[in-house]
Symmetry: C2
Subunit: 363 residues, 2 copies
């Protein structure tokens, strides 16, 4: 297998290391900065250097574009323009803008957006690690016309380098990430601003901050270049999330201002239940069950299937597509944890008009 | 030395363990729950049990009231009513309500409010530790009439059990804590509420949350009984903090909604600088310098001194009061890190009308 990494920073470098280590792949790297490429070679994150994005992508099975969000459209288009059969993906933190832009490309069916929920304190290929993605969710945003063979190749490679791929449409991705990532960053920024203002009123020095403050502000002012891009490319949704949280805070202020212990207690208890639900959502349960579905092997079928399962929150532990010899139909196998989850998955697959069987363990 | 602990939970139990361990004190405990007292004896958090708060406080040098905020006024008053010479303190998270209430007590000069910035994931004497307060800030809120001898005894014991005492007036304490503790809890609650709402719109299951979300929501819905008391007893200030953060969030929404990368970049950069200032505030610097001041030994002098230094953010590493034989004047020695800090401290002490010398190392 041949993997192209376009942009060799923390994420690109880690994809390179993991691909060599776990896929036995040959990794070709491109980066506008020659010094970074030299260092990536030294560190074993890439096997060879390509002088341009197109030359890196040519002949690759998968090309990962791992540049800041605003540079991704150009990079993806350059990779697609190289021709060949590479599935072109990316690792950007927002997806709508990119997916909409690439949709117009003649080879759009070879593009599948991606976003690994992984990172580290420090940026740069120096900090790249082969195990960076172990156990991490890796969102994939296939468009309705994405090729099943390419989707399968990409999700399989991602699973093999240790991550857990899950399909989601670009709009849902950007909304969810606005809530669980972009909004926490905005709140952290507001909180440090408030603390600095409070300190200048109260004392010449800042107060000793407790653990709740440190936790809440850890990401305040995160890399401004990267985050300006993320906020700008998801501006409407993030702004709407802020509006919504402002409403919640107004309600909280009214509850607290009342000084009514019972009312405050009920509000605090509600937050406790919400957190418990969120924690519960993170559990996985039960032994693996295998589902086998027969599907038409045409663009979009596998993407549609993966998206429907992702939308329902079904956790696909593993997935594989086996095209039939005539290449017109195919078998999809999926592994899902737990009997209830397997039944739910089967219902969804049937709902899309495919036949499906749940295969018992040992079969 | 004899220490009374009224309320033997995580904090009270840890004060007991640390007092036995590091002060060589005999610790007498009171708790309304006999089972907790039995367990505290087993764990060595107390040496003996008293049947009432007054009987625990009688004959003690220091009585720490370590109950939930709403029970503190009654407990402090019971401890003062026991008579004797005990300095009565507490460990509540808010201070105005308690300090105002106790001010009317005839023995108010023996009461000095306190609040250690320490805690643990789990409550209860089972989780008490002798090292819980190591390096932790411990705020003290002496009233203007607090006795210097009692203040000195209390701050010295707190320093010996490993914490770093700092004087602050009750109003400033409650404002600062509203910003660095109560507000982060409110934001965490709002964020989990938002995430649950987003999840029910978007999918049947919740999305995989990134580290920024986990950090930002760790304290959501914290112990509702304790937090209802904290919010209720600091309601006006917390509500005002929420109003202020709502204004900041409205501005943030406007900046982001503009989609203007440069403007968003500048806003993100501003948060970065604010966070850097907060981090910088946490540093300490320079070798210890000793200050010796002569003061009148009357109620309030030491409290006034400690409060003025605390207000200016001077970090007193250690402090001791030596009453003169006539008991009408006294010498206060203070240790401060760094020459500049020592000069600043000396200016403040002089500004209060006391004579002061900075003693060089080795003298």
């Amino acid at each position: 297998m041949r993997i192209a990494v376009l942009g060799v920073g923390l994420i690109g470098g880690s994809i390179g290391l993991a691909s060599r280590d776990r896929l036995g792949a040959r990794v070709v790297g491109y980066d506008p900065d020659q010094g970074i490429l030299d260092r990536a070679l030294e560190l074993g994150a890439i096997d060879e250097v390509a002088p341009s994005p197109a030359e890196a992508a040519a002949g690759a099975d998968i090309a990962f574009c791992a540049a800041p969000v605003r540079e991704l459209p150009g990079l993806v288009e350059a990779a697609l323009a190289a021709g060949g059969d590479a599935v072109v993906s990316d690792v950007g933190s927002t997806k709508r803008e990119l997916v909409a832009r690439v949709a117009a490309h003649p080879d759009a069916e070879r593009f599948i957006g991606g976003h690994p929920i992984a990172g580290a304190e420090s940026a740069g290929v120096e900090h790249a690690r082969a195990d960076l993605f172990d156990g991490a969710r890796w969102y994939l945003t296939p468009s309705p016309t994405a090729s099943g063979v390419h989707y399968d190749r990409l999700q399989r490679a991602i699973a093999e380098i240790g991550a857990r791929p899950q399909a989601i449409d670009a709009e849902s991705h950007d909304r969810l990430l606005a809530t669980v990532s972009h909004l926490p960053h905005v709140l952290a920024n507001a909180l440090v601003g408030q603390a600095v203002a409070a300190a200048s009123e109260e004392a010449e020095r800042l107060p000793e901050a407790g653990p709740s403050f440190r936790d809440a502000t850890r990401v305040a002012g995160a890399n401004p270049r990267i985050w300006a891009d993320i906020f700008a490319s998801n501006a409407d949704v993030v702004a709407a999330e802020i509006d919504a949280v402002v409403e919640r805070l107004r309600e909280a202020a009214a509850v607290i201002r009342s000084g009514d212990r019972d009312r405050i207690y009920a509000w605090q208890q509600e937050a406790r239940s919400a957190r418990a639900r969120l924690m519960e959502g993170a559990r996985t349960a039960g032994p693996l069950r295998e589902l086998r579905a027969s599907v038409a092997n045409r663009p979009g079928t596998l993407a549609e299937l993966a998206l429907a399962l992702g939308r329902a929150g079904v956790n696909i532990e593993d997935m594989a597509l086996y095209p039939a010899p005539d290449m017109r139909t195919g078998a999809v196998t999926m592994w899902v944890a737990g009997d209830a989850e397997a039944e739910r998955a089967a219902d969804i697959v049937r709902g899309l008009g495919h036949s499906v069987d749940i295969v018992s363990e040992g079969q």
